[in-house]
């Protein structure tokens, strides 16, 4: 029976029929109805509150103006503060160079030359000294005087200490004269700083070895889709062969085919449904075909067929005994070894088994179809636990998708 067609016909009914259904049949359960009513009340309350808010602000435009002005003023103040903070930080970084630059100017790296000239003939010698050494030489030496004025040694040393404060630790080259010069002589003291010279003696900080950034590990997952870039997946050919053999052997217009990835290994399983008789299922892995279901029958004993969970590795079917008075729900899973394993069995009795023999007697039958006893994997459970298990394993039938004819499945497998 084509359930898809029934759905399609009912969804395309005319308005009169729809209204007739609306009059005679409930649309949803009570819980959904209450939920919708609750949401209607919430929305109406929200609408009423909004109306009150709008009316308040309408009647006080002055308040509205004041509030806008406040908002604007606060925003402007925040922007000014932020701008001032950013500008201050920028300026500070410009005025105070980073300490690394200072540390790089070591004693051996920069030179300051102090040259003195004098008019007297004398031998001069020059040597590179640190500033402190130079200061000591200058302070003790009477040969150096500043221009323009005649200065005493103490004044000279004061000036030199002032100069030292500004020169910091820059090394100084002092040219001293061997002969003494009278105080009246004016000499020009020229202090200049040259670019720091990096000599071999400066210990270089070891540079970190330059290494290439690590190349992230990539894993390439070949999927059937990626494989089709170069070759068609091998399982297509294998499945095609199975379909051809099956069609040759059993034929029939009632056989339906489908592809669905039940065990979530990215390769779909081939499902062949010999409608109302049996179901076959095949899986492909490790370059070979595995038979998951081989002529699993249904149609008898209340077994209406095998259903597949859309989101889990689970196949379920049910069957009954004693004309439906004992009902079994079985849950199967495909193992990594490509076999079918039963994980759970839910049993329910529609009779109160007073004598605990598991066989319904006439007087024990629940005429209203209600459940009396429930078992999960042969252990008795309460009705609440039974319902909870049912809710957790809510079945949405996917058997409807196993509805391709032989020609359609061949076309799908050939043109993948």
């Amino acid at each position: 029976m084509n359930q898809k067609k029934i759905r399609k016909l009912l969804h395309h009914m005319n308005e009169q029929t729809a209204k007739k259904i609306a009059d005679e049949y409930p649309a949803t359960d009570q819980a959904t109805k209450e939920k919708i009513y609750h949401q209607i009340c919430e929305r109406r309350n929200a609408m009423n509150e909004k109306k009150e808010t709008i009316s308040e602000t309408y009647h006080t435009p002055y308040v509205k103006f004041v509030s806008w002005t406040k908002t604007f003023g606060i925003a402007t103040a925040c922007m000014l503060i932020m701008g001032g903070t950013i500008g201050g930080i920028w300026k500070l970084t410009r005025l105070n160079p980073p300490s690394e630059e200072l540390n790089s100017m070591t004693e051996n790296n920069s030179n300051t030359d102090i040259s003195t000239t004098n008019q007297t003939e004398s031998t001069t010698s020059s040597e590179t000294l640190t500033t402190t050494q130079a200061l000591a030489v200058i302070a003790t030496s009477t040969d150096v005087t500043t221009t323009h004025t005649e200065m005493s040694t103490t004044t000279t040393s004061m000036m030199i200490s002032t100069m030292a404060a500004t020169m910091q630790t820059a090394p100084v080259t002092v040219i001293t004269t061997a002969t003494t010069i009278p105080a009246v002589h004016k000499e020009t003291v020229i202090i200049s700083e040259t670019e720091p010279i990096i000599t071999d003696s400066v210990p270089e900080s070891p540079e970190p070895p330059i290494t290439a950034p690590p190349i992230p590990e990539t894993t390439v997952i070949t999927t059937p889709q990626s494989e089709t870039m170069t070759t068609r997946p091998a399982y297509l050919k294998a499945y095609l062969e199975i379909c051809e053999n099956d069609h040759q052997e059993f034929g029939g217009d009632n056989t339906r085919y489908g592809l669905y990835d039940i065990d979530k290994d990215t390769i779909p399983e081939l499902i062949i449904n010999h409608t109302s008789y049996w179901m076959d299922m095949y899986s492909y892995a490790d370059d070979q075909i595995y038979t998951i279901m081989d002529r699993y029958p249904y149609g008898a004993g209340g077994n209406t067929g095998y259903r597949i969970y859309p989101f889990e590795n689970c196949i379920t079917y049910s069957f009954t005994e004693f004309a439906g008075l004992i009902h079994y729900d079985c849950f199967l899973t495909i193992t990594p070894e490509h076999t079918l394993e039963e994980t759970d069995m839910l049993t329910s009795y529609i009779f109160h088994d007073d004598n605990n023999d598991g066989i319904p007697q006439e007087e024990e039958i629940n005429r209203d179809g209600s459940l009396s006893k429930c078992y999960l994997n042969n252990k008795e459970i309460t009705l609440q636990e039974y319902e909870q298990f049912q809710n957790e394993h809510a079945i949405e039938e996917i058997g409807l998708d196993i509805d391709k004819s032989y020609d359609e499945i061949v076309a799908q497998l050939t043109n993948y």
Partner: protein
């Protein structure tokens, strides 16, 4: 409760009147909205539209209005559902501008002959479903029209989901026999 009583209740006790109105016409509105949006929107869209319908009705209903409440509510529901359907279709970008060159080449998907045949088949199908008897008729409509699961149906008809599935499969077999007897082809 008659429509006149609902109107009186809306005047005297508006909240109670609205609740009564909701209780009586909820399934009616839901079905009309569902009928328009089942092929376009999700269940959440349908519920949203139902909420919009009732908010609209509660906001604008005039208790002194003498006409049929059912007709008024049904019309509001239908128009809301059509508007919602158009919005959903616009979101799905299944529209084309008038100025586009391809517009003239567009043809309607509808085939009148198929539609006529479909509506006849629907009528026969509905007749056969109603002949199944309760609760099978309700189960079939809940499953194939409203697309409810066995658990949801069990809350409506007060049977356990297992019994629902068994009844559904048996009802399908009976339905098939009845349809074949009327030369219904699938």
């Amino acid at each position: 409760m008659t429509e006149q009583e609902i109107r009186c209740l809306l005047k005297e006790q508006p909240e109670k009147g609205e609740r009564e109105l909701f209780d009586i016409y909820y399934h009616y509105v839901y079905t009309i909205v569902y009928h328009k949006l089942c092929n376009i929107g999700s269940r959440e869209d349908i519920e949203e539209c139902v909420i919009d319908c009732f908010v609209e009705v509660f906001t604008h209903i005039n208790p002194d209005y003498d006409g049929s409440l059912k007709a008024y509510i049904g019309t509001v529901a239908k128009h809301k559902a059509i508007n919602a359907g158009k919005q959903l279709q616009a979101k799905a970008k299944r529209n084309i501008f008038l100025e586009e060159e391809k517009f003239c080449e567009l043809s309607s998907d509808e085939n009148i002959e198929d539609l006529t045949e479909q509506s006849e088949q629907t009528e026969i199908l509905m007749q056969c479903i109603s002949e199944l008897g309760e609760p099978d008729t309700t189960i079939m409509i809940q499953k194939f029209f409203y697309n409810h699961s066995a658990i949801e149906i069990s809350h409506i008809v007060k049977l356990n989901p297992v019994a629902i599935r068994v009844r559904c499969s048996r009802a399908l077999k009976r339905l098939k026999t009845m349809l074949l007897a009327r030369n219904f082809t699938f």
